[in-house]
Every structure is written in C-alpha cells, then in structure tokens.
C-alpha cells in the first residue's frame, strides 16, 4: 500500500506548554498568597480583590482550568496526532482553541477579582464566559473528532477513549450546571434553588474532578508512561474494564459532598455506595500504569520523566482510595467542612495533576526541540522538592482537620461545648504556617523546572512540523478472526461517543429527576418567605465577596452543631435560594442561624474590623462596604428574575421594591444610630446586615410539625 507523508503540528503543543508554565505559576502563587492570609489576615491589605473570598476562586480556577486545562490540551494535541497517525484536523481551529482558552482564563481572572461570580464553586464564571467556554469546547471537539475521523490507524487507543469520554462529559456537566438567568452583562442567577441547586452543583463539582482532572490525565498516562518507559501496556482487558466502570460509576458519586445535609437520604446513600464501588475502577488505572513499568524499574531511578509519572500515579491511587473512605458517613462526619478535605484535594492536585504535568513537560520539550534535557540533576532536585512539598503541605492539614473536628465535637461532662469556635481556629494556626511552607517549597521546585526547560529550549532547535509517514486507512477494515469483542467499538469513534454519553448520563438522571419532580423530597415550610429587596442585595454582596468559601449555611444533624448553631437545616428552608450557599468549608462558623444572634451594631463593627469583635479572628476587614452604595437601579430586574425562577413576588412588585428597600435600610440605619454608629442607608453594609439578620429567622416562626414532621413522609 502507498505510504503517505504528513507532518505533526508541534506549534500548538508548544503554545499550550508555555501557557501551562505561566498559568501554573500564577495559580500556585495565588494559592500561596491565600495560604498565608489564613494566618496573617493583614495580607488582604484592605483591598477587595486580594481578600481570601475573591482570591480563592482565582486560585482554584487558575489551577484547574488554566494549569491543568492547558496541560490537558498540551498532552492531547501531542498524543492524539501520534496515536491517530494524522495531523490535527485544522490548524485554524487549533489556533482558535488556544487563544480562545487563554482569553477565557484572562476574563475569568479579571471578573473573579472584581467580584463577578455566580457563587457556585468551580463554576464561578458568569454567563458570557460560560458561553465562551461552550464555544471553545465545541471547537476543541470538532478538532479532536476531525482528527480521529481522518486517522490512519484502524483502532483508537485507550488514551483516546478517555479523551472522548472527557469531552462529552465535560460538555454535559458544564451546560447543565451553568443554566442561569442573566439580569445584566455580568450578573445572573442560577436556575436551580436550594437542595436542587446543591445536587446539580456537586454533581458538577465532583465530576469536574472526575472528568477534567482525572479521565484526561489517565489518557495522558496511557500515552506518556509506556512511551517514556518503552514498555507495553500491562493489560488491555484491564483498560477496557476500568475505563467503562470508571466513567459509569464516577458520575453517581457527587452527593457524597452533601452527606448529612438537607439532601434526601436516599441520594446521600447513592453517593456513598457509588464512591465505595469506585475504588476498584480507579485503582485499575493506577495498576495498569504501575504494572506497565514491570521490568523497567531500573529506568525509574534514572529517568526524571518516569520518576514524576510514578509519584503521580501513586498519588492518584492514594487520593482515589481516600476519597471513598471520606464518603463513608462516619468518616465524613469528621472530615467534612475541615482542612482534611483541602489536604485530600491537594494530594490529587499537587501529586497527580502537578507531577503528571511536570513529567509530560520533561518528556515533550526535549523531544519537540530535538535535544536532551538541560540538566537531569536539576530535574532530580525538582522531584525531591516537589515530593517534600506535598508531604509538608498535606500532613499539617490532615492534622489540622482532624484536630479541629474533634474540638468542635467535644463536650464537657456537664453537657456544654468545650471550645468556642474561635478557639478551634487559633489552635490550628501553626498547621497553616507549616502548610504554606510546604506549598512554597513545591513552588520553588516549579521555578527550578521552568529554568531547566528554558535552558533546554535554548540549546535545542524547535521542530514546528514533525515529519511522519503511514499508510492510509483502507475503506473497509477487515476484523481479525479471533479479535476481542471490544475491538468493534474501537473502530467506531462516533458510537464510542454515544455510548460514553449514555454511560455518564444515567447516574445524574437517576439522582436528579426524582429530586426535581417528587414533592416529598423537599417538604415545604409555610413560614419560609422570599427575601426582601434589601436582603436580596445583601445576599448578592455575600456572594460577591465569596463569604461562602469560609462560612457554611448548613447545620448538620449533629449534637454539637445543634448546640453551637441551633436547629439543624431543613430542605424546605432553601427554596428561594438562587444559588444555594451551603458552602463546603468552615474556616469561620456556620451562618445558617445567624439572624438575631447579634445586634446590628455588632455586625457593623465586625465587618469594619473583625478582630475588634472577635479577638484572634482571621477574617479580613471589609472597609469598602461602608463606602460603596447599593445599586438600586438593578432591584426591579432582580425581582423580575427571581419571579421568573419561581419566587412568588407579586406582579408589579418591581415598581414598589425600591421603596420597600429604602424603608428597611432606614430602619437599620436608625438602629445603628442608637448605638452611635452613623451610616447612610444607601451603603452596602446596610444591605449585608439585613441579609445576615435574616438568616435562619423564618424557620423559628414555623409550626412545630412542619419542622419535625418531614421524617414521617414515606420514601424519604
């Protein structure tokens, strides 16, 4: 057969590699910054964009979507061409994909810093950016499937199965979770409310980990590990089983982020059991990677690429074993809302994603520049600094999380809580210091790598278009007589796409549809009323400043939480919460029952200077709330949007809402005046106080049977 000559596009890979290095450093430095803020609050400098609440989404978005995202594209653009024996489908699409993604990242950073957020973790970006992401993702999809379709290889390799599953699942997650109603260019409200919003959000959040941080990187592992070790993949059968089991089971596990919350028990249990069943499929990937190195372990000692890949795969194994354990209710009761979770995700982020990315970079760059790595010794130094950094990062946080949870739960024999919340925070501050040192060491390693790679690039010459040749695909592929049944679908990428979509759609559908349609899942409480216009503004400020990143609004049914915060949270309380604000971490105390606990003047002083009201607190000051004014122009649009989403404001309330708002604001300003605190009712702090004083108030007026009676509803 005639052999065709063609060229691999290395240029796009190069650009993505540069983006990985730049955004990686930015994301990690922001992470270090907020890690220091945890024990040194003045670092927020009284400046809104540098407070923890705004920097934290910048950190997570930068690391997930900029660092790992570009890492995925770098690895996929490199490996896909070689596995398909074809150049990328379209150079123009590659270019649009690259620059589109970088613009999205830039827009994300700017909007998050300026406080434009949807308030949903890992999906904070506002609607115009969501649309841009969808478009760029479609461009990526066309480019990827175009390449697969014009391939010169009869079958698609396991790495590509993972790429396909990633593409289709991320598309589904992003679209479903980003359903929102815009009210202005950079402001929208989630279509879902309360329990339903929480379920959709954590179905998304958990599977962002699964299909953005895991499956594409497993694909990269399946290409770069055997290539670097020059060993055959250990077991083809294991690839098949763990691939299908992984994508099918992963999607169900989201509710394990909501154990003991107001989510119906049956959904929580599904989250737990599917997480446990996930251990084996996850470990299948680790084993297939590690066993591939059989007979090549001597190379691991020598070759920096393999060192990084081995630790990455090991960290993947640890994180995917720990994750299911954290999904058991009795463990989750301790770990949730503490730093344990933060330690857990950083084993994955620093170990699995970070080290895998570094390994791929050390592999690609010498290859594409047709040279050797500048210094293996420096790569070795990076490896050890990185490893020590991870250990020093994680252990103090595990310790901190466990200690704090135990302190929260400790009662005196007389039946009183033994520790004030603040005591449990100040107690673990030394751990936060140690953690930031670990993180800093890790970053030093990354700087050394960057230097090493720049030197490598300097000594080589870049091969922009790499020549290759292969025979074209015959019109009809004749199957082998005794081939494995799975080979059938490996010849059919489109069927693969459809089957993957079906596999990942089942879990979400089974969990979401009943939660949305069956009324008994969210029993109504008649005293729960919509927010007043002023409170609505206060809630927007709460979301803008990222309060939910340190404060939960979810009292779990535990003795200590009920004693500390009040009656545990009920599903019916959140029906007007677009978006829900349950939070996932308690750096500060829960706020679900805050209303009426302190006088207005306490909040006024506390937001101005938290340490004056809570000595030793690590909360930043919010000085600008006393200068900026509420945007009354937007109130009617907010009311309109909420009514559209099902909040029962009367028709025509848009015309009266600002008047009501002014009245309530003046009342609060008057009360503050009584405590010698003079503030204009138009200031943002007044709205925030109104919202904080509303939290948890409705349920106190509810008839008793509505609060306790929901346990009797069958099937609940």
């Amino acid at each position: 057969m005639q052999v065709e000559k063609f060229y691999y596009d290395n240029k796009t890979v190069k650009w993505f590699a540069y983006a990985v290095l730049v955004w990686g450093l930015v994301g990690m430095l922001v992470g270090l910054w907020i890690a220091v803020e945890m024990y040194y609050p003045p670092l927020s400098m009284g400046f809104a964009p540098t407070t923890f609440g705004r920097m934290r989404p910048v950190h997570t978005n930068a690391v997930i979507f900029a660092f790992v995202g570009n890492g995925i594209f770098m690895g996929v653009y490199y490996s896909l061409q070689r596995l398909c024996k074809a150049r990328m489908f379209s150079d123009a699409l590659s270019k649009i994909h690259f620059w589109g993604w970088q613009l999205i990242i830039l827009a994300a950073a700017l909007t998050l810093w300026t406080g434009h957020t949807t308030g949903k973790e890992y999906a904070e970006l506002e609607w115009p950016i969501d649309i841009a992401i969808t478009l760029v993702w479609v461009v990526f999809g066309i480019n990827m499937f175009g390449t697969i379709i014009k391939r010169r290889e009869a079958h698609i390799y396991v790495a590509i199965w993972f790429y396909i599953a990633t593409w289709v699942t991320v598309a589904m997650l992003h679209i479903v979770n980003s359903m929102e109603l815009p009210i202005s260019f950079l402001k929208s409200y989630s279509m879902y409310a309360g329990v339903q919003d929480a379920l959709v959000q954590w179905w998304y959040g958990h599977n962002a980990v699964a299909f953005f941080l895991t499956t594409p990187y497993l694909g990269l592992m399946y290409y770069f590990l055997p290539k670097a070790a020059n060993r055959p993949v250990y077991s083809y059968r294991l690839s098949i089983i763990h691939f299908w089991a992984l994508i099918f089971i992963y999607i169900w596990a989201g509710p394990h982020h909501l154990l003991y919350t107001a989510l119906p028990d049956w959904a929580q249990s599904l989250g737990t059991v599917f997480s446990i069943m996930l251990i084996a499929p996850s470990w299948g990937g680790m084993l297939n990677g590690l066993f591939t190195l059989r007979g090549a372990w001597d190379k691991v000692r020598e070759e920096p690429v393999l060192k990084f890949l081995v630790v990455a795969v090991t960290c993947y194994g640890m994180a995917t074993f720990e994750g299911p354990l954290l999904s058991l209710k009795n463990v989750n009761a301790i770990s949730h809302f503490t730093d344990w979770t933060i330690a857990h995700v950083h084993i994955g982020a620093l170990g699995w994603n970070g080290f895998m990315t570094f390994g791929v970079l050390y592999f690609l760059i010498p290859k594409m520049w047709n040279t050797q790595l500048y210094s293996k010794k420096l790569a070795g130094t990076h490896f050890w600094l990185g490893t020590i950094g991870i250990v020093l990062y994680a252990i103090p946080l595990y310790w901190a999380g466990f200690t704090q949870a135990m302190m929260w739960k400790t009662f005196t024999p007389e039946g009183q809580l033994k520790f004030q919340f603040l005591e449990t925070v100040t107690h673990i501050l030394p751990m936060y210091v140690a953690r930031s040192i670990g993180g800093a060491i890790y970053i030093v390693g990354v700087v050394i790598m960057t230097y090493n790679l720049i030197k490598t690039i300097g000594q080589g010459s870049f091969v922009s278009d790499e020549a290759a040749e292969a025979a074209p695909l015959p019109k009809v592929i004749v199957p082998h007589s005794n081939e494995h049944w799975h080979r059938w679908i490996e010849r059919r990428p489109m069927q693969m796409l459809v089957l993957s979509l079906i596999a990942v759609a089942i879990g979400g559908a089974i969990e979401m549809i009943p939660t949305f349609l069956v009324k008994s899942n969210i029993p109504t409480i008649s005293s729960v009323k919509p927010y007043t216009p002023l409170e609505l503004h206060g809630r927007d400020i709460y979301i803008r400043e990222g309060c939910y990143l340190c404060h939960s609004q979810m009292v779990r049914p535990f003795r200590d939480e009920v004693a500390r915060y009040g009656e545990y949270s009920k599903a019916g309380e959140f029906i007007y919460d677009h978006p829900f604000q349950w939070g996932s971490k308690r750096t500060g105390p829960d706020l679900a029952r805050l209303g009426g606990k302190y006088p207005d003047s306490w909040h006024y002083n506390h937001m101005m200077d938290p340490q004056s009201m809570s000595p030793g607190s690590i909360m930043p000051a919010y000085g600008w709330l006393y200068e900026d004014e509420i945007n009354a122009f937007q109130t009617p649009k907010m009311i309109w949007a909420m009514r559209k989403l099902g909040v029962p404001y009367p028709e025509g309330y848009e015309d009266k809402c600002n008047k009501d708002m002014q009245k309530q604001a003046t009342e609060i300003a008057e009360r503050l005046k009584g405590d010698k605190l003079v503030v204009k009712p138009e200031k943002e702090i007044v709205a925030l106080i109104a919202y904080l004083q509303r939290l948890g108030k409705d349920i106190k007026a509810a008839p008793k049977e509505q609060i306790t009676g929901d346990a009797a509803i069958p099937g609940n």
Binding site: M277, L287, N330, I334
Partner: protein, 385 residues
C-alpha cells in the same frame, strides 16, 4: 496460593457481615462505644493490619520452612532460632488481640465512669488502641525485614543455582498475588496492537483487584439494604436523636453526682479570687467583644455603672447570661458554659461594679443597688433599642 486467596476472601466476607450486623445492632438501641467514629476507624485499621500480619506471617513461615528444607539438605543449622522468632511474633499477635478485647472492655467501663475523655473515647482506650496499632506496625516491619532477608538469600541461591543447573526459578509472592506471568513469556501475551510504538499485553486482571471490586459491589448492596429496605440502620435524623438521647442520659447521670448543679434560683455570689479569675478569663474571651474587656460597654451595655436593663442582682445577671435577651442581641450562653462557669461569669460581672473604666458607655436601664434591690429612679432610656 489459591487457598490463601480463598481464605482472605472469606475473611473479607466475614468482616463485611460483622460490620453490617454492627449497624443492625446500632439501629433501634443507642449505639455502643463502637459507634464512635474514631474507635471505628482505629478498629478497622487494627483489623486491616492484623490481616496483613496474618498474610505476611504465612509467607514468612513458608519461606522459612523452604529454607529449612534446603539447609537440611545442605546440612546447615541456625534456622531454628529464626523459626523461634517467628513463632514468638505470631504468639504475640494473639496476645495483642486479647489486648484489643481488653481495651474494648476498658472503653466500656470508661463510659460508665465518664473519666477524662477525648471526644468520647476514654484516654485509656485511646492509648491502648493506638498502642495496638503501633505494635502491629512494628510486627509488620519485622516480618517484612525477615521476608527481605529470605528473599535476598533466595535470590543469591537462585543466581548460583541458575548458573549451576539452569533450574526453574521459584515464583515471587508478589508475582503470585498479582497473577504475573514471567517477563520472558511476554511475547505470548502481546496482542499485536501498535499505537505509535505502544504495544498492549493480554495480562489477566489482578485477582485481588477483581475480588476487591466484587466486595465493594456487595458492600454497596448491603449498605442500601440496611438503610433503605430493612431500615435497620439509622438515617441522619434518627442518628441525631439517638446521640442526643444518649448525651442527655450521660449528662443527667453526671450532674446527679456533680456538685455544680446551680441554677438561677440557687446561685451564690463568688468572692474568692480563684472563681473570679476563672470568670475573668471567660469574660475576656467572649463577653469582651460587646462589653469591652473592662466592662465599659460598646455594642453591649456598660456593666460597671449602677444601671441595669434586666436587673442587677446575682440571680438576674446569672439569668441574663444563661438565657440571653435574644431581641436585644444578648445571646444565650447556656450551651457554651456550664452552670458553675455561668456563676463565675456572673460573679465577675458583679465584681466590676464601680471600677470606673475609661470611655464608659452611657447608663442604660434602671438604677439598682444591692442594698436596696427594689427598683428606683428610671433614667432616660432612649439610647436602648
């Protein structure tokens, strides 16, 4: 090898059953000390480590007998001492498991006496459990060390044997566990796939992985059955009610014996420095936020003057701290402080009277004097909310 696998499967199965029956027992009755999550985690760790020890011990014994056979042939000696050590180790495992039982019963006893506790686990139980874990880890280390020695000598022997007679090599336990085929047979496993130079082998699934997967699925079925079909395990709300009932009972039992059972009717003013110092400490941590450290008042009223919003007698002050005045921003502190601590706080507040701090808040409420507790002149209260 097959036998070991079967055994370990049965053990895992039994383990699953026993945990599920534990839940079942937890259902209607209040949970035992075993339901403490910390104890549970430790217990699981202990059992897990014990399984590892059993597994390793079997390997070491096998290896030891193998070597003894060989050395007998070669006429060597010295293996007897090694065997002795192994038996000692195994024996000690039994001792530890008895320790474990003992520590469990200690935990039970501790529950009754309610000695000093670490998040619901008695200190003795905690330390005993941790000791068991540490000892188990040490045993594992020792066994691994032995195994390493055996393997090293085995390898040496193999190397010489291979040179000498080209005999069939013995299979490494690691290879057995994972069902590895020798690397030189790899050619037979090659599926002939080639993706950019990457080949694929047709190795078997690691058996422990596959059975582990099955176990997880069985666990899932049992879990769902227990919680949602047989309803023998408590759901979140039931779990909460059980824990509160248990805590209330414990608290009642404790207070019956304890001397600090004071309330607003029986509270007496403390004047001794010890109790006042304890009150001062708590005042400065929590009350100072609103009343300032000197009691001069800020968000909350001045506590040093002669005027009181809710009565100035020790009983009134105690009551105010205990139940709070929610609508005025004073929270209830009864869940944060014990009765004796509330009395200390109230006494300390009373001791602040007449201290004339700098920058005091204007008087609020009603003039009060301990000598004449009947309310007197009312002052302008426009400042209060």
């Amino acid at each position: 090898m097959q036998k070991i696998l079967k055994n370990s499967m049965i053990t895992t199965g039994l383990l699953l059953c026993s945990t599920s029956s534990l839940w079942a027992a937890d259902g209607p009755k209040p949970p035992s000390s075993l339901s403490n999550p910390f104890v549970e985690i430790l217990a699981v760790v202990i059992v897990g480590l014990a399984i590892v020890i059993g597994f390793l011990a079997k390997l070491v014994i096998d290896a030891a007998f193998l070597r003894m056979d060989k050395e007998k042939k070669a006429g060597g000696s010295g293996i007897a001492s090694t065997l002795l050590t192994i038996f000692f180790l195994l024996f000690s495992v039994n001792v530890f498991s008895q320790d474990m039982a003992a520590s469990d019963s200690t935990a039970g006893a501790a529950k009754v006496t309610l000695a000093s506790q670490l998040s619901g686990v008695s200190e003795t139980a905690y330390y005993l459990l941790s000791t068991v874990v540490v000892l188990e880890v040490l045993i594992i280390a020792a066994l691994l060390l032995m195994l390493k020695t055996f393997i090293a000598s085995e390898k040496k022997a193999l190397a010489t044997a291979a040179v000498a007679e080209n005999s069939i090599p013995t299979v490494h336990w690691w290879d057995k566990v994972n069902n590895f085929k020798p690397i030189h047979q790899e050619v037979d496993l090659d599926l002939g796939h080639d993706y950019d130079g990457i080949r694929e082998l047709d190795n078997n699934l690691p058996p422990w992985w596959l059975y582990g997967f099955y176990c997880c699925v069985i666990f899932a079925v049992i879990y769902l059955w227990e919680y949602h079909v047989s309803k023998s395990a408590p759901l979140s709300k039931e779990e909460y009610e059980i824990s509160v009932a248990k805590a209330d009972a414990e608290k009642a039992a404790y207070l019956e014996k304890a001397a600090n059972n004071v309330d607003e009717n029986t509270v007496k003013l403390f004047k001794d420095p010890e109790n006042l110092a304890a009150g001062k400490k708590n005042f400065e941590t929590v009350c100072a936020a609103c009343h300032t450290a000197t009691g001069a008042g800020n968000v909350g009223p001045n506590l040093t003057d002669d005027y009181w919003l809710h009565g100035g007698s020790i009983k009134d002050v105690f009551k105010t701290i205990k139940y709070g005045w929610q609508e005025k921003g004073m929270k209830s502190w009864k869940d944060d402080f014990s009765p004796i601590q509330l009395a200390q706080l109230a006494s300390y507040v009373k001791s602040l009277h007449g201290t004339n701090p700098t920058n005091p808040k204007a008087p609020q409420g009603v003039l009060f004097s301990d000598a004449d507790s009947s309310a007197a002149t009312k002052i302008d209260t426009t400042l209060k909310k």
